[in-house]
Amino acid sequence: MPPNPSKIPPSEILSLCKKFFYIGLLFLPWLWVINVIYMWPLTKHSDIGKEIKKYLYFSTAGALFWLIVLTTWYSIFVNQRITWGEFADKIIVIPIRGA
């Protein structure tokens, strides 16, 4: 449930949305996803809706960026792990058995 603008001052909600976005810059893409899901109903708010929408778009873009980066890395890693040899073994946290 999104914060209720009739109970909390809209300016405070907006600042919370901004904080979510800025903290998300610290390699926390899930926080951006939470921000979007949590705040999305408020984009229709007459007062702060436009501002919130702007930050939610930023958050979505950031989360998508991370998604692309991580899936690309994952597919490269999975396919190239064997060819990289020793380097790949060094960056693995839990050794993969039998493959």
């Binding site: 064997i82 040899g85 020793e86 073994d89 050794p95 058995r97 039998g98 493959a99």
Partner: protein, 693 residues
């Protein structure tokens, strides 16, 4: 309110029960029967991956295909589901295994090696033992031998199936009943098959097995070593000599008497290798014993006699190659900390060793390679007796050499021939007497000849043209031969060989030397005792000094190299050869070798000095680096490593039809739904009646 608490309690208990039951182990104890068959293990080198693997646990209905036709029918059939196929070992050809794999119906294979119908244990075996069966290559270890670059090299094992060198990405286990546990597994599985056959694979429940045999290794030896998922195949070779004072500069020629200590087969746990492995080692020990009873002590002869028992020869001659490498190349100790370290566990200060490269002792330097006079190697010698015309037992052994024109080789061949009854007529013949010159069969001598091709070297065996019919197979267990025949075969050749060595060590071996001049003979009772010890008898007295557990049977598989701990076979050879070649017996009492000082053997409960040492053996292409890690240094040489694995899971269970499995699941879901609904309504009802709201 009390009822509410009670309801919560019931809910909690049922949840708890659910958790307990879903725990793997508890669940398995109730529904599964855990069995212990012998697995096929993944083994790698720098260029190939061999052995078996199952990345995921698999299961399948038990089915037995007794003949090639039945197997073909199974592969072609439109059966649904997965099966665990029990194959008579004879049918385990690479072609059959590959067609089973591509049929998509097979989740695992059980190799039926021997065994009778469990319902009538005295009946004939379910499968016939084949006359020829070798899972090894057609030219075993030839890529690591002296003739590896020789294009027209002789094919020694034409019947070899080559399945040891293949890679199978599905689990294979062996059914080989020989003790209580393996008999139990075997009976349960065969009963399961018979149960399924009675139900025509239609009336459920049917018997199925589940495997989990994940091998950690992947890709190649160097990758696996780096990931710490492999251990090097190998162990400890043993060398021993009565010449307690042998040293590098004494200028005395050395006669090397050699044999391979262990053997190989597809299923390591049941490897025995009676002919290929045990027979040669027994002959070696019997010769050492005979020479130790020489009227003039052999250490006073013109030549030294050095006995070498090499570990890991079936894996690219790793024992002999490492030994030769160490005695041939100049040794340079880079670091010696004189006490055990993380990377070198020996107390090198006590035994005069070296921390890096790690050696317990450096006594191998006392063996001067350039002093080697000749090599006499005992290959398989258990089957030297055949029935001749008129059912009369005939002895026949063959001497193989690299070069028949080498004067030293000629002398040894003719000397052995003369001692056995005459050159060309006695029971020891030239392997090339049939007009075909095949050079050396796979043997340890090759490692020496690699460094100096002119060293006279003879390999004595019971085969002439092809390696024994069960070469490196589980069937090489002697059950096709009579024990007394095996004993007299080993004893006869050991006798002649010991006489030849006795004469040769005094420089008096000649093609015409009369046998009366040799007051040396082999103790055939000792041969029988050794045979018993190494094959069937756990309580054998020769093991007393060092054997902890009394298993019924020792595996003669090479095993993996562990720096400071020697395997049973190595310790056996060390103690037996060491006692035979013991020199000065002290009055210090001992129970086993740990009670004595370095360089001493515990013989007859007394410490005795003996020039008998272990020598590390692992692939000649592998080397330890300073931090104790092992790396591949030469991918062309033997680099065999064995995969680490977690515990095998092998369970027998009843499987129901798909229809009943679906209905079970549905009933479960329905019951869960009903209980949730009843708890919610019950809670509401109770709160209402007790007016809690």
């Amino acid at each position: 309110m009390y009822i509410s608490i009670l309801l919560k309690e019931i809910l909690f208990i049922s949840l708890f029960m659910h958790l307990v039951l879903s725990q793997d182990t508890e669940f398995k104890k109730v529904f599964y029967k855990k069995l212990l068959p012998v697995p096929c293990v993944r083994i790698l080198n720098s260029t190939s991956v061999t052995g078996c693997q199952s990345l995921k646990p698999t299961s399948g209905l038990l089915i037995l295909t007794e003949t090639q036709d039945l197997l073909n029918d199974f592969i072609k059939s439109d059966r649904k589901g997965k099966y665990v196929v029990i194959l008579p070992y004879e049918l385990m050809t690479n072609d059959n295994l590959r067609s089973l794999e591509s049929s998509g119906k097979m989740s695992g294979v059980l190799a039926l090696i021997n065994g009778t119908d469990p319902s009538s244990p005295n009946s004939a075996p379910i499968i016939q033992r084949p006359i020829n069966f070798s899972p090894d290559e057609k030219c075993p270890n030839c890529q690591f031998g002296l003739y590896r670059n020789d294009e027209s090299r002789y094919i020694w094992n034409p019947n070899g199936l080559g399945i040891i060198q293949e890679r199978y990405d599905f689990p294979i286990f062996a059914l080989y009943p020989f003790d209580k546990a393996s008999n139990n597994s075997y009976n349960k599985i065969i009963n399961g098959v018979q149960f399924n056959e009675r139900r025509s694979y239609e009336r459920f429940p049917l018997k199925a097995v589940e495997f989990d045999a994940l091998m950690f290794a992947a890709i190649d030896a160097s990758t696996c070593l780096r990931r710490n998922f492999c251990s090097p195949v190998g162990g400890h070779s043993v060398y021993s000599t009565p010449s307690i004072d042998m040293n590098e500069n004494d200028g005395k020629p050395i006669i090397i008497v050699s044999a391979a200590m262990d053997s190989k087969s597809l299923f390591q746990g049941i490897t025995l290798g009676l002919n290929n492995g045990i027979s040669g080692s027994i002959a070696l020990i019997a010769i050492a014993d005979a020479l130790s009873r020489s009227p003039t002590p052999v250490k006073n002869f013109q030549k030294h006699i050095l006995f070498t028992s090499f570990a890991g020869e079936p894996w690219g001659f790793l024992g002999s190659q490492r030994f030769v490498k160490n005695i041939f190349e100049p040794f340079n100790c880079i670091q010696n900390k004189t006490k055990p370290t993380q990377s070198c566990g020996y107390n090198t200060g006590q035994s005069g060793g070296c921390t890096f490269p790690c050696f317990r002792d450096l006594d191998f330097k006392r063996i001067n390679f350039s002093n080697i006079d000749s090599i006499i190697e005992l290959s398989s010698v258990a089957n030297g007796i055949s029935l001749g015309p008129g059912n009369i037992q005939q002895f026949k052994y063959f001497v193989h050499v690299d070069n028949e024109n080498n004067a030293g080789n000629r002398l040894l061949m003719q000397g052995l021939g003369a001692l056995s009854g005459g050159i060309g007529v006695g029971f020891v013949r030239n392997a090339s007497e049939d007009g075909v010159f095949r050079k050396l069969p796979p043997s340890s001598s090759m490692a020496f000849l690699e460094k100096n091709i002119n060293i006279p070297a003879v390999v004595i065996s019971d085969f002439q043209a092809n390696l024994s019919n069960y070469y490196n197979s589980e069937y090489d267990d002697g059950s096709d031969l009579d024990v007394s025949t095996i004993i007299s075969s080993i004893c006869t050749i050991a006798n002649v060989t010991s006489q030849a060595i006795w004469l040769h060590a005094q420089n008096i071996l000649s093609p015409t030397s009369p046998t009366a001049n040799t007051p040396i003979s082999v103790n055939c009772t000792l041969v029988g005792l050794l045979l018993d010890c190494l094959t069937v008898d756990a309580s054998c007295s020769l093991f007393d000094a060092f054997r902890r557990s009394k298993d019924d049977r020792i595996s003669h598989y090479t095993g993996v190299y562990q720096q400071t701990s020697q395997q049973l076979l190595s310790r056996f050879h060390y103690n037996v050869l060491g006692s035979i070649n013991a020199n000065i017996i002290s009055d210090r009492k001992c129970k086993n070798e740990t009670d004595c000082q370095f360089g001493e053997i515990c013989t007859n409960l007394h410490c005795a000095s003996s020039f008998t040492r272990y020598h590390d053996s692992y692939g000649a292409g592998l080397e330890f680096i300073e931090n104790g890690d092992m790396i591949v240094v030469d991918p062309e040489k033997a680099t065999w490593v064995e995969s680490v694995w977690s515990d095998f899971d092998f369970n027998l269970f009843n499987v129901t039809s798909i229809g009943s499995q679906v209905s079970e699941l549905m009933t479960g879901i329905l019951l869960t739904g009903l209980s949730i609904v009843s708890v919610i309504f019950g809670k509401k009802y109770v709160r209402k009646t007790l007016k809690l709201d």
